[in-house]
């Protein structure tokens, strides 16, 4: 072999971190091929930052809590209140900024509970496909799926006093089943892959097979669904608060703001339009991000 050949071989010696870095770069490339996804990604980051630093960003942080100023009620957008004020004289912009955290907590909270539960159920059902365990799990899942989640959430949140936590709980109860179904589908097909068979033949434990061999292969699917779900859950939360089953005053909540503001249409349009736009922004961003992740995952070329 020639000298040149050896040289090319040497350059490809990879360390653990280099490989990892390379993976990140590759994924980023796949992700960023669609510029809109990048916009979504940036927007999500911004939203998270706003939610974290709401205290410092909002022009009138005090307007997000016990505060009324009826003499400044229903001012249209002006230089002092950029997005106007509501019927109690509170700054709409500040309230929108303060509502982000609730929306994110709602999304994250639901997903952080629903996803693990659903994923574990789905993994078990997928791994034991054809056995009674699997049948039982999937039938229970079917029961939960045979109702639109919003209806189930509505029913559950009506039982308790309406709070952010309770609506979260209500959505979670109906949400895990979707993860179970998704993961079940993936796991039961992965279960027949030869690499799982190999692991079994080698004598790896069930725990190892389920969590180390099957789960990592579902991970991307789960992640995609999780980001897309952020948007959907936030939408559902907004729908629940729209009918009065959401966060309670004076805590700012986009759905509640819309349902309050909409009573003042068409005059005080800013009370509806801006919160609606904020919901759209959040949901849109997460959807774009989710799409990007899906693109990244589905990228066929290596």
């Amino acid at each position: 072999m020639s000298k040149k050949n050896e040289k090319t071989a040497n350059t490809s010696v990879a360390s653990r971190s280099a490989v990892r870095w390379d993976n990140i770069k590759r994924n980023w490339y796949m992700f960023s091929r669609n510029k809109i996804s990048v916009v979504g990604f940036v927007a999500v980051i911004l939203i998270i930052l706003v939610a974290i630093f709401q205290q410092y960003i909002a022009p009138y942080p005090e307007h997000s809590s016990a505060y009324t100023n009826f003499s400044a009620a229903k001012l249209s957008p002006n230089s002092q209140y950029w997005l106007g004020t509501d019927a109690s004289g509170r700054d709409v912009l500040s309230r929108i900024i303060f509502s982000f955290r609730g929306a994110l907590i709602m999304g994250v909270g639901v997903i952080m509970v629903a996803a693990p539960v659903g994923v574990i159920m789905g993994l078990l059902a997928g791994y034991y496909k054809g056995r009674i365990v699997s049948t039982i799990i999937m039938r229970v899942v079917d029961i939960f799926l045979s109702l639109p989640s919003l209806v189930l959430a509505l029913a559950i949140s009506a039982i308790f006093t309406p709070t952010l936590f309770h609506s979260m709980m209500a959505i979670t109860v109906s949400w895990w089943a979707w993860y179970a179904r998704l993961v079940y589908g993936a796991a039961s097909s992965i279960r027949n892959e030869y690499y799982i068979q190999s692991a079994e033949l080698i004598g790896a434990s069930r725990k190892h097979i389920i969590f180390r061999e099957i789960l990592p292969n579902c991970w991307f699917t789960i992640l995609t669904k999780m980001t897309l779900d952020m948007g959907i859950v936030i939408l559902m939360g907004a729908s629940l608060s729209f009918v009065g089953l959401g966060a309670q005053p004076p805590k700012p909540d986009l759905g509640t703001m819309i349902s309050d503001g909409y009573k003042l249409l068409p005059d005080a349009w800013w009370l509806t339009i801006f919160p609606a736009a904020a919901i759209m922004l959040i949901v849109l961003s997460f959807n774009l991000l989710g799409d990007g992740i899906a693109d990244m995952l589905n990228a066929k070329e290596v």
């Binding site: 809590s65 016990a66 505060y67 009324t68 009826f70 003499s71 009620a73 229903k74 019927a87 109690s88 009506a158 006093t161 309406p162 709070t163 009065g244 309670q248 005053p249 004076p250 309050d260 909409y262 009573k263 003042l264 249409l265 068409p266 005059d267 005080a268």
Partner: protein, 529 residues
């Protein structure tokens, strides 16, 4: 009529088949919005919409005038026994039900007994007092009471008279023995009344349409409304649009101030200020911390910014004590807690919770259907925060509020309510709101359970002498203010926007209105222009 004699007559359904309805020119027609479904059976319904339907579709023995005076109506005269335990009424004989049957004393007795047996709706006015009703002849009916009931005649303004024959002909199996279901099923979508309007069609959750009863025993003005339609519209924006488009004549009373302001801008639209006895009240749970401490309650009463409420939340209203000035027997000189933070602080220092006022959260629940209540709650929340009192606010569906009232534990510290009642004497409200009998229901979130007050109320209601009664009411009011179970914020007017350019509406123009739920929507006296 007596059922035995006219059994064979075909049962006429007063609802006309929708298909057959001729395309009437609906010029003199009133359109109203309401949150449907409603209870059409007069023995069941008790809401303000229910009451306004009853007053238009059914007749009563007595009638309450706009100013609250009780005058004869179906009854021409009545006598009260010496002991006050029986009342004998003479009734008119020229009244026809909507299906043409004559109205007689048997129908009246039947209606009272039916209400007592069913035990829902307005029957609470009678169950504890009235034993039974009996017709002695077609024009005489006697009510037998268990105990004296000074306001009995006034309460009869709530007794809708049903056509016994028609009701019983439409009964189906039910829990009331020989009476089956007492026709409840049928009456939920039909009427059996003799009132100025008869039912055209009922789509339970959509709309209720009634038209003029031409054979009504009283005179019709030629410009009186030909009929009215209640529609299930509760979205404020929609209501406003419809009012602007003349698709709506009178709105319901639950419009927000903001919305009312906007509607008042529309040409030809005016907004009523009908004081029908309701008081915006913060009902405090006197049996649960921290509002179990009288000083804490007083502290909150001093913390409320009444002026802002009157000037900004409900502009143009006035303050009141426990009883609205609309009721006979309300005390105009009763002590009103002022907005006074210093006093509040003093009270707080005297209270059990002085050391750590933030320890117990004061939960305020308000009805999600009345968004303006939130503003009142916010006012208290803001002021309380200054004293370190922790206040949370929850918009609660009405059903949940009812559920909350069931036990002391589930009743929140404060529930915001706008209660009003059925007849125009202060006793009506006192009995309903502060007597121990109503604890555990949404009528009373205070859990006052004060034996002294109970006795006083009972005594007052039993008192047959009106003047005495009225002065007894005043005593109770000052005792109540001292106990401070509630924060009486302001006298809450029924504010309805209506198309003043199309018709004149006496109730809207009156100086003073009877404090009776639903009374202001008496359509017979409206005149189209």
């Amino acid at each position: 009529g007596k059922s035995e004699e006219t059994e064979k007559e075909p049962v006429t359904d007063t609802t006309v088949d929708a298909d057959a309805t001729p395309e009437t020119s609906k010029e003199k027609w009133l359109y109203l919005n309401a949150s449907l479904p409603l209870n059409y059976d007069p023995a069941v319904g008790a809401s303000s919409v229910d009451s306004s339907i009853m007053i238009n579709v059914y007749d009563n023995l007595v009638f309450t005038e706009i100013d609250g005076t009780v005058i004869p109506h179906v009854a021409t005269e009545w006598t009260e026994s010496e002991d006050g335990l029986s009342y004998t009424f003479k009734i008119r004989d020229d009244i026809k039900f909507h299906n043409g049957d004559p109205l007689d004393a048997y129908d009246v007795a039947f209606s009272m007994n039916r209400a007592l047996e069913i035990g829902q709706g307005f029957s609470y006015l009678w169950v504890n007092y009235v034993d039974r009703a009996e017709a002695t002849d077609p024009t005489t009916v006697v009510f037998y009471l268990n105990k004296t009931y000074g306001v009995f005649v006034s309460t009869l303004t709530r007794l809708s008279i049903l056509n016994e024959e028609l009701v019983m002909a439409n009964k189906v199996d039910g829990p009331y023995g020989e009476f089956g279901d007492y026709g409840m099923n049928w009456l939920s979508t039909n009427d059996a009344g003799s009132g100025p309007y008869k039912t055209e069609s009922i789509n339970i959750a959509e709309n209720v349409t009634c038209s003029k009863f031409d054979d009504y025993w009283m005179e019709w003005d030629e410009n009186a409304p030909d009929g009215f339609t209640f529609q299930a519209v509760n979205e404020t924006a929609t209501v406003r649009t419809m009012l602007g488009n003349k698709e709506l004549s009178i709105t319901d009373e639950w419009q927000t101030q903001d919305s009312l302001n906007a509607m008042a801008e529309i040409d030809g639209v005016e907004v009523t200020n009908i004081y029908s006895g309701a008081v915006a009240t913060f009902e405090m749970n006197t049996k649960k911390a921290p509002t179990d401490c009288i000083h804490f309650r007083k502290c909150l009463a001093y913390l409320f910014d009444y002026d802002t409420a009157i000037n900004y939340v409900y502009p143009g209203t006035k303050r009141t004590g426990p009883i609205s000035a609309s009721y006979e027997g309300s005390d105009p000189d009763v002590f009103l807690y002022p907005f006074d933070k210093a006093k509040a602080k003093e009270e707080l220092e005297q209270s059990k919770y002085a050391d750590n006022p933030g320890e117990h959260t004061v939960e305020i629940h308000y009805s999600a259907d009345v968004p303006d209540e939130e503003k009142l709650a916010l006012l208290l929340q803001e002021a309380a925060a200054e004293l370190g009192i922790n206040v949370t606010i929850t918009a609660t569906p009405w059903s949940t509020m009812i559920a909350n009232a069931a036990t002391i534990e589930s009743t929140p510290s404060i529930s915001v309510m706008y209660p009003s009642d059925s007849y125009s004497e202060a006793g009506s409200v006192l009995n309903l709101r502060y007597h121990s009998a109503t604890t555990g229901s949404a009528l009373q979130f205070e859990w006052l359970q004060d034996e002294a007050i109970d006795t006083e109320i009972e005594a007052a209601l039993g008192e047959q002498d009106k003047d005495k009664r009225l002065s007894m009411y005043k005593d109770i009011q000052s005792n109540l203010v001292e106990a401070c179970p509630s924060i009486w914020v302001l006298e809450w007017p029924e504010q309805r926007a209506y198309r003043a350019d199309l018709f004149t509406w006496p109730e809207a123009e009156a100086e003073k209105n009877a404090p009776i739920m639903g009374r202001c929507l008496y359509f017979r006296t409206i005149k189209f222009k």
